[in-house]
């Protein structure tokens, strides 16, 4: 729309200069070898990409995708009903609820993760309760359960918020019209509310699935180092091995994969529900 062209140009330039350009530096580095602080020593090469495509790294990537997928599914399964219920609440309570759900994410990440480690530990409260009722201790940490719990915990609010947003603005007139036409409550949900809340589900998924693939602190702390995810790998390359070039190559590959995934999600959302997000 012509009226908003100015804004679009502004933002286009913003994104190009402040988001894309800085990343281009890393992308360029990924094609070089030599000392990155001595530009004259750099030569072009594809070696970094060869190193990045090491089979064990591919396994790590698969594992990361899998973990993020499970996290997303669980967040969806819990998050959608919760968002739905909150939408049905008194408008005054709704606001408070949303804030209350996001608020734990304002505490320091390390602090709350250490607290979880205390809670989940073999000597922690949960296991104490389990023991006292005769179930014995269960290993709740340093395994899949602990990692997924940590992931879900830190991503759930970001699934709930967008879904809630999309559910709240569903025009009551539509619901009434459906009812007038003889729809049952079930119909109203599946044929009116669910489709109209898909933009929210899409947003929620992008806010959970994508970042979940590249997080690594959660898996490192709650997984006890047994879960090397793609985020750990990139961090190891950059910080421990001081090999920014291979690290950048891995990051580029990951970004491409994720943008492709995003494209697929977008097609899915668009194809079935006429989402015109972009």
């Amino acid at each position: 729309m012509k009226k908003f062209d100015g804004i679009v140009y502004f933002y286009g330039i913003w994104v190009a200069v402040l988001v894309v350009l800085p990343l281009l530096i890393l992308v360029l580095l990924s094609f070089t070898s030599g000392d990155i602080y001595d530009l004259s020593s750099l030569t072009l090469t594809l070696d970094n990409y060869k190193a990045a495509l090491d089979p064990s790294y591919i396994g790590v990537m698969m594992h990361s995708l899998w973990l993020a997928f499970i996290t997303n599914v669980i967040c969806l399964v819990i998050g959608y009903p919760v968002a739905y219920i909150i939408t049905g609440l008194n408008p005054r309570i709704r606001n408070t609820m949303v804030l209350l759900i996001l608020a734990p994410m304002w505490s320091n990440f390390l602090l709350r993760t250490y607290s979880w480690m205390l809670v989940l530990g073999n000597n922690g409260p949960i296991n104490s309760v389990l023991e006292s009722i005769g179930l014995g201790t269960v290993q709740l940490m340093y395994n899949n359960f602990g990692v997924i719990l940590g992931m879900v915990y830190n991503f759930l609010p970001f699934m709930i918020l967008p879904i809630y947003l999309s559910l709240t603005r569903i025009d009551n007139a539509l619901v009434e019209a459906a009812r007038d036409l003889g729809a049952t409550s079930k119909d109203v949900f599946f044929k009116v509310k669910l489709p109209l809340s898909m933009p929210g589900v899409f947003s929620g998924t992008t806010l959970v699935f994508l970042p979940a693939i590249t997080t690594f602190v959660i898996s490192r702390l709650l997984g006890g180092g047994q879960y090397v995810l793609i985020g750990n790998l990139i961090e190891h390359k950059f910080m421990v091995q001081n090999d920014w070039q291979v690290g950048a190559a891995i990051a580029v590959i990951v970004a491409i994969i994720l943008l492709v995934v995003l494209g697929v999600l977008r097609k899915l959302a668009r194809g079935r529900l006429e989402l015109s997000l972009w």
Binding site: N95, N108, P157, L161, L165
Partner: protein, 264 residues
């Protein structure tokens, strides 16, 4: 849905979300400095907090950057969402894809790339570089949340306004914004959430002048996070909860006829 079931689900959710918060608050009163070893009740960590200059500085930067970044990023993000929503498919696609980059990339990549970018332009590292970095990734999140809201706009009103010759700012301010108000607030909330607890990007764009709570706390990890950090977190939480109730009180007294719509 059955009412008690709803209550259980929501109650369970809140318990789940607040369990670690309750634990960390509990241990802020621990006489021992070790998490997990309760040695009696003590307020000493709260006392220690008030004479700690390093934490005060960190708090100042954390709040300052988070609040400013939220306000600015929300403004930019909302405008960008509006502009992009009504733009041509090709532009929309490319810009939106680029917009997802901060979300798709690990923090480390965003942080390091911005650090190198700022170094290249000989920027003076400190509050401003940190702030700019925060705005950059916050905008991306704002757009993700506001865009879907754009779909729910009654375009007829926009058309009518255009027909009546209104300029872009009037259309945005008078017609569009009121309809996406919840989205804007949610975007701001999300931006704030992302900014208030950021470590990696802040660390690399801080230079030697700036810092924030996350940096201070992560830097303590090797030596053990002393409970005065728990005390600070607890105080911040109490403050936030009070703020939430305060906001509610204001809204309640403000309108009895209007449908209360802060977020929804």
């Amino acid at each position: 849905m059955v009412k008690p079931l709803k209550r259980i689900l929501i109650g369970g959710l809140l318990l789940f979300l607040y369990l670690p918060i309750i634990v960390l608050a509990l241990y802020s009163f621990n006489a021992s400095e070790y998490l997990g070893r309760w040695e009696g009740f003590s307020l000493k960590w709260y006392g220690a907090l008030f004479s700690n200059a390093e934490i005060a500085e960190a708090l100042y930067y954390t709040l300052g950057v988070a609040l400013l970044a939220t306000i600015i990023a929300t403004a930019i993000g909302v405008l960008a969402s509006i502009g992009l929503f009504y733009s041509k498919a090709k532009i929309k696609k490319h810009v939106m894809t680029a917009n997802y980059l901060p979300i798709v990339n690990p923090d480390l990549i965003t942080g390091i790339s911005l650090m190198m970018f700022f170094v290249f332009f000989r920027a003076r590292f400190g509050f401003s570089t940190m702030l700019l970095a925060h705005i950059i990734f916050d905008v991306a999140y704002v757009i993700v949340v506001v865009m879907p809201k754009m779909m729910q706009i009654d375009f007829a009103q926009v058309e009518a306004a255009m027909d009546l010759g209104a300029n872009q700012w009037v259309i945005i301010g008078r017609v569009i914004l009121p309809q996406i108000k919840q989205g804007v607030l949610a975007g701001a909330l999300l931006a704030f959430t992302m900014s208030i607890d950021d470590f990696v990007i802040s660390f690399f764009t801080a230079g030697n002048r700036a810092t924030n709570l996350s940096i201070a706390i992560y830097s303590m990890a090797r030596r053990g996070i002393k409970p005065y950090v728990n005390a600070l977190a607890t105080l911040m939480f109490v403050g936030i909860i009070l703020l939430i109730f305060f906001i509610n009180r204001i809204n309640d007294s403000k309108k009895d006829n209007e449908n209360g719509r802060l977020i929804g």
